[in-house]
């Protein structure tokens, strides 16, 4: 199995084998972070640019840590303080970064498809760190990596994705990845947060949390993204917590060893209770640790693929 893509734009565009390759490579990279010297020279002399058009701490820092553990040089561009404010277009910004002889752009953008557009315009690698409502591939990869690590496989697992499906790129990437690897996915949300025709992606839908939890091997709880769409209707918070919030009481009726995931940041008391977030079923902080290994694997693979083409 060879990785031939210079970019990582979304899990929609990957074969199951390519997803497996990233996961396997990440397994090898996980060990690096356990060493006393947490660094390998694999991307020495390479430059990675974090280009973030949306606020992000954990994803940006995770990518930065991953790139640094591979010995790449990392440059952070926060667009609020850059020429983007002066009206520079995305493509122009990208071409300027390319002219600086950077090797990888890691981009977060509020427009769906922004990473795809940038990747087409540039010869250097583009890694999508989240674009609008479209995809957040590395988040889904680290979710799947964590699931596989905990449960030994993905095929046949019953995975519930709960919450703001409509506005969630994390949900979309997870749906692509999990269904490609053979998991049974159910998305669970209030009707107003279920996108139309979401069933066409091969998932089941439900608005009954307890019903969904009964058979779930894992539940991925999404954050309510109140900031993403000011005009959209959102359920009233307390009402949402009552119907969909993951509480200890609710978990007591689920499988005893159900895995609880959350991409962060958590709204405690809206999506889940504090007891659950910090409880025995939660793997939320392990997801953060695994995120580094997954992102190291992605950066390594896209850099290798680009080398091979030059």
């Amino acid at each position: 199995m060879l990785w031939t893509k210079k970019d990582l734009l979304g899990l929609e565009y990957l074969t199951p084998e390519e997803i497996e390759l990233i996961l396997e490579t990440a397994e090898s990279f996980k060990e690096v972070s356990t060493r006393e010297i947490k660094k390998v020279p694999a991307l020495r002399g390479k430059t990675a640019v974090n280009l973030f058009y949306e606020p992000s701490t954990r994803t940006r820092v995770s990518f930065e840590v991953a790139a640094k553990r591979l010995s790449a040089d990392v440059i952070n561009i926060a667009t609020e303080t850059s020429s983007v404010r002066k009206g520079e277009t995305l493509i122009d910004t990208g071409k300027n970064i390319q002219a600086l002889k950077a090797d990888i752009i890691i981009m977060r953008h509020n427009c769906s498809g922004a990473a795809n557009m940038l990747a087409r315009a540039l010869d250097i690698s583009v890694v999508n760190a989240g674009d609008g409502w479209h995809e957040h591939p590395t988040q889904a990869l680290l979710d799947i990596f964590t699931l596989k690590e905990k449960l030994g496989k993905i095929r046949g697992l019953n995975v519930a994705i709960v919450g703001d499906i409509a506005h969630s790129r994390v949900a979309r990437s997870n749906i692509w990845g999990l269904t490609k690897l053979g998991a049974n996915v159910t998305v669970c949300a209030p009707e107003m947060l279920l996108p139309v025709e979401i069933e066409k992606t091969g998932v089941k839908t439900s608005s009954n949390m307890d019903e969904v939890l009964k058979n779930a091997d894992a539940v991925n709880v999404l954050r309510m993204q109140f900031e993403r769409d000011e005009d959209a209707a959102f359920p009233e918070q307390l009402d949402y917590y009552k119907r969909f919030g993951i509480t200890e009481e609710r978990l007591s009726r689920a499988k005893n060893d159900i895995i609880v995931m959350h991409p962060g940041p958590i709204n405690r008391g809206i999506e889940m209770s504090s007891e659950v977030a910090d409880g025995k079923n939660s793997v939320i902080l392990e997801q953060v640790t695994n995120g580094i290994a997954v992102r190291m694997a992605v950066l390594f693979l896209v850099a290798q693929a680009r080398e091979a083409k030059i």
Binding site: E31, R35, G45, Q304
Partner: protein, 179 residues
């Protein structure tokens, strides 16, 4: 690629590994502070066999680990096919240990250079010694082996193939010519 000659068969490999085990013990005056690390893939299997032989001879268990050197390769940036990154498993402290590094074939020495860099990231062993099943010559770096199963003079046009039960289903060392 056409097959040329079988250099070592199963018995010869076993005898070489056993002799190297004896030499390791002799040189290190026993097994105190001794540990062994194989380079992926086949070096790992030879390292495990050496550890078993040492146990047979001395009755002592020694720590054995596996090292993947992909991320330390000096040709990583070259378009020489995509290397698969595999796991490094060294779950013991190598600081102040007498470490025996093991590989199947010693050729240019570049793999060993990468392995030395990788090992230093894990700690500071008291010493690092090198054991190889086959030394085929043509060094490009100032590196030599402390323990050698068999010296095989080769030309650069030839390919040395080491087959081991664990990875290839049989124990043999073959020499073939590139066409």
């Amino acid at each position: 690629m056409k097959q040329k000659a079988k250099i070592l068969d199963k018995e010869a490999i076993n005898r070489s590994v056993m002799r190297i085990a004896h030499e390791i013990i002799e040189k290190n005056k026993g097994t105190v502070d001794l540990c062994i690390v194989g380079i992926r893939n086949r070096g790992v299997y030879i390292a495990k066999r050496l550890a078993e032989c040492i146990k047979k001879i001395e009755g002592k268990d020694i720590s054995a680990g596996a090292l993947d050197i992909t991320l330390y390769r000096d040709d990583l940036a070259l378009a020489s096919g995509q290397p698969l990154v595999r796991k490094t498993e060294i779950d013991f402290d190598i600081n102040d240990k007498k470490l025996v590094l093991v590989d199947d074939v010693l050729y240019t020495g570049r793999t060993i250079r990468a392995a030395l860099d990788a090992l230093i990231d894990f700690g500071r062993p008291k010493s690092i010694q090198l054991a190889v099943l086959v030394d085929r010559g043509h060094r490009e770096l100032p590196i030599r082996a402390d323990f050698v199963g068999k010296n095989i003079p080769t030309s650069k046009q030839e390919i040395v193939e080491v087959h081991l039960e664990e990875s290839d289903g049989s124990d043999e060392v073959l020499i073939a010519e590139k066409e």
